[in-house]
Symmetry: C2
């Protein structure tokens, strides 16, 4: 450990002030502009306190029951000019915690604190892993496979899961694996026939746009010979193998139809249909892990009955095979629209992209070089494991993202100036977000409106894929589409890549519209830009943390977010199962009076 | 790097002498008692040169075409008294190599050299992994799953595998994974219905006796929450998932019936039966990976027609369930016999073990504590990855094993004196091998006659499982068995845990008895003890290296040996496929004149 006196002094002073419950003494250790991001450790919430007053308020409410102690600097301090950063560890009444501290001129600029393990319920791993064997003869021996079969047979019938997870994609599977390690009985219901089908069922040419170093699932990393960009079916197979390896209980071909919560006994009544037969489940906790998005947005264009061609939402698009030689209009200009355009072009269709609003486009190669510094082979070589990278990423408060990202996008625009010139010349309408903060901010704010270029942009620049930008589709016609400016677009096939509804729309269908609107939208930061109205939240809305609805949770995001936040969601569920007190600091208020 | 002048001087002198082809100058750098273990780098064989004359002989024959150069010390030197050890790297005409060097008083006592990668055919991994995606639109795009399905459809029909692997247990699967990474088309034929069934089909209570740190497969380690001792069905599921993840081509429910080699065109003609239908395959290379053992030894006891009860070989034993209340005799006293006895006892049978000769028994806990130092959680904490541990293990010449192991067994006998006293008092006949070198030496010499105690010994000591030692079964009788001393043993059930034939017996059935006897037995070191007759080989017979039969190979061993040696077998096969010269130093002579 390379300590610095500064760091040691700060931690000692912080520890002292906390132990004396001296909240203003704590506040004095922070700069005026300061951030404390907490993942469960203090708040049993995912919450960023911005500025001293919010820190004081939080500590005043939590300090007495959290009882933090034993603050230590761990590992080597990183010093850059007047800034010192370091990993830290500490304990609370509930568990062991870790975090990251950044001091500027000796005062705290950023503190991140995270619950790591619950006292008495530590996740078994390494030295504490199960033996898997009783080293003695036992006339009542039950073998591993007998116990597994018994568990599977009883699950959902004689035995009820403590947690029911709706959705068996990467979100449900990652959470299922975490819960199994923590000994929380969980059942995943998945509408498709096989684990991984949520990926297999997507369009033919889909390949992950994020690189392998960013995509690991918990506990089992992709091997070092795994391709950088995973094809969708290979990912489907990996998820299926993973679910098997981690002994997850999954009901395939099972839809979740209705759910209602009985606050009195703390149990949900959930009606599912498994292989066509109704089953009633009684879990204590219900997690919606139905994807980063809710249901597909409805295609709401007048004149549908007149249109003689094929009209589908991108979620139903499989392959361009049937459309060779056809004239195709693709509505939208985000990831799916680009991929669908390429797929149609490859199949030999005549393709026009109808761009409704500007998109953010970044070349994949550029983003890999500049945007994934901590998730890369270089990072691995420098000892930055995926767990370290996740903690590094989590230690930057969302409020500081835009500035950081703006700097990145200045580099990107410089490096790829010729590329952007060609796109502009082809009539493609791009920007870098309302505040020039780029693709990742857009993903966090609206989960839409961007494309990591893996080939479409070149076709657009060359005119192989035509673009009409500012296209306002007002009606379907017998031969195609009509735009707001009166322009007619001929089309045999229209693919509407118009996105998805918010996750809470799923809740409207399964629980009730009232509960869904009380919860309000999921995702988004409240940035005040289009698609992400304020007020500023500081964190993603309703994700991986308590919602206004008791015992109802949302889990989702790409592989990376599913990996990281599944741990914190699993800890929240485990604590509740064990009856550990989990006082939530600032549980959200109902968005409407529906609840 | 903590170098020592000694080490640097030695490597420089060695490099210089080799580059001048000064064989006697090289020999001068070695002690009189010295060992050079080579894994392909110099010999395209797995071979230990013992003493200066063997080193001189080997170098005289190989040096001109091997052309070794660029010898470097890598990592930190380890100094203990007058001994200095270090990892080394070098290159040959064929590839990059690594190894380990141990100097005593400045002269070489042990050198281990191993081929690591072939020039121009380096295994893609880390930075050189496949991208998995062409970053441009392509009207002739073939997706990953289309290519996979096409490959599977054509394999063995339009396309012939370069390597045919007989057996889809851990051996075949580990080798299959290595070959796929090296781009060698391979097909595995497996008689069972599912990958992993070779484990699932074993007796109900089987759990690995080796700990998880020793059992990893290549490329994908068991996760850190995997149990220490893997139950057989869980291992079966892991192998199945693994085969899927690494995209292996496996034909299930396929028997290998006949094979003959045409030396003229260098191809095998192999008749297999797949799902009941005959298929002829034409691979260049044929690998027998049918298990550490050959077929079960035949039960050759007179009087079988008179015996009214159940008589089975341990390989057919599944569970004691049907034998509750029955009187059971178990012939044998090695691992299977112990496990079968416990399983029968647990099921409520009356069990007698008929011990024919002394066994080596070691308590599992003791062996974990004292015998797996480099494969343990402690080793992981010290940075000894499984790959490092494998190279450490491989750098000890077999000739030095007995002394090393005798010291270990002195500790074991001291620590568990009370345990051994109880076993002796119960009439169980144990020893520690003819030369007291213990269990691992016995495994290497005869692959039989030992038991890692996970519960049976206690039942034996308590008399719950009866033992008749020195039991010479001469006949089956209507009611049971007769022993050589005239004693009659009543039995409703006889389980013959009498072991397996040598692997080359499989070859006798599939290729020809002549080829099998020319190859001679597999496994064993030629130690001159019972079951392992001399002359001394210095290495395991016929395993993972060229045999007397062209293009015919044996792969086998426990998970650890399958993991490590699969790399070297794969490199040998790859080199042959690419037409790289592979002059084998000291290919074995035919054991008989059969070939």
């Amino acid at each position: 450990m390379t300590d610095t006196p500064q760091l040691g002094d700060w931690i000692a002073a912080f520890d002292r002030a906390l132990s004396y419950r001296d909240v203003s003494g704590v506040a004095d250790l922070f700069h005026d502009e300061c951030y404390w991001r907490d993942l469960l450790a203090f708040t049993w919430n995912i919450k960023t306190m911005e500025g001293r007053p919010e820190i004081v308020e939080m500590l005043s409410e939590t300090l007495s029951h959290v009882a933090p102690r034993a603050w230590r600097v761990s590992g080597q301090a990183e010093i850059a000019g007047n800034t010192v950063s370091s990993w830290i560890t500490f304990e609370t009444a509930a568990g062991v915690c870790k975090g990251r501290l950044t001091l500027v001129d000796g005062k705290c600029h950023i503190l991140m604190t995270a619950l790591d393990d619950l006292h008495g319920h530590e996740e078994p791993r390494g030295r504490t892993r199960n033996k898997g064997l009783t080293h003695r003869a036992d006339p009542h021996r039950r073998t591993w496979s007998e116990l597994r079969h018994e568990e599977t047979r009883r699950m959902g019938h004689e035995d009820q899961p403590y947690v029911l997870i709706v959705g068996g994609g990467q979100g449900g599977i990652a959470l299922g694996a975490r819960l199994r390690q923590l000994g929380v009985p969980a059942l995943i219901v998945e509408k498709n026939a096989r684990a991984g089908d949520s990926w297999r069922n997507r369009y033919r040419s889909l390949v992950l746009h994020d690189p392998v170093w960013y995509d690991h699932l918990p506990y089992l990393e992709f091997p070092e010979n795994w391709p950088v960009f995973t094809p969708k079916d290979k990912l489907g197979d990996w998820l299926e193998a993973y679910a098997n390896i981690f002994e997850l209980e999954i009901w395939q071909s099972t839809s979740c139809d209705k759910a209602s919560f009985d606050a009195e006994n703390g149990l949900w009544t959930v009606e599912v249909t498994r292989d066509g037969k109704p089953v009633t489940l009684r879990p204590a906790q219900l997690v919606f892990a139905t994807g980063a998005y809710g249901p597909p947005r409805e295609i709401d264009i007048p004149g549908g009955e007149e249109f003689a061609g094929t009209l589908i939402h991108s979620s139903a698009y499989q392959s361009g095979e049937a459309f060779a030689g056809k004239t195709c209009a693709v509505i939208g200009a985000a990831s799916s629209a680009h991929d669908v355009c390429v797929d149609l072009w490859e199949a030999g269709a005549d393709v026009t992209m109808l761009q409704r609003s500007p998109s953010i486009v970044v070349r994949s190669e550029t983003l890999m070089d500049l945007g994934f510094e901590i998730y890369s082979e270089d990072a691995v070589a420098r000892g930055i494991t995926v767990d370290v990278a996740d903690m590094l990423a989590a230690s930057v408060p969302f409020a500081l993202f835009p500035d950081q990202q703006r700097a990145l996008y200045q580099d990107i625009r410089k490096r790829d100036a010729a590329f952007y010139d060609r796109l502009a010349a082809a009539g493609f309408d791009f920007d870098f977000g309302e505040d020039d903060s780029g693709l990742m901010m857009k993903a966090l704010r609206t989960a839409s409106g961007y494309y990591i270029d893996v080939g479409a942009s070149d076709l657009i620049a060359n005119g192989e894929i035509k673009v009409i930008s500012g296209a306002d589709v007002v009606a379907l016609t017998p031969d195609g589409l009509r735009l707001g400016d009166g322009q007619e677009v001929t089309a045999d096939v229209v693919v509407a890549c118009i996105g998805y509804q918010s996750m809470n729309e799923i809740v409207a269908g399964i629980v009730s519209p009232e509960v869904a609107s009380a919860i309000g939208p999921c995702w988004g930061l409240g940035s005040g830009v289009r698609g992400d109205p304020g007020p500023w939240q500081g964190e993603l809305r309703n994700m991986w943390k308590p919602t206004v609805a008791e015992n109802l949770w949302f889990h989702g995001g790409n592989l990376a977010l599913s990996r990281f936040y599944s741990r914190f969601l699993a800890l929240q569920l485990k604590a509740r199962m064990e009856g550990i007190k989990t006082p939530v600091y600032r549980r959200p208020d109902p968005v409407q009076s529906g609840l």
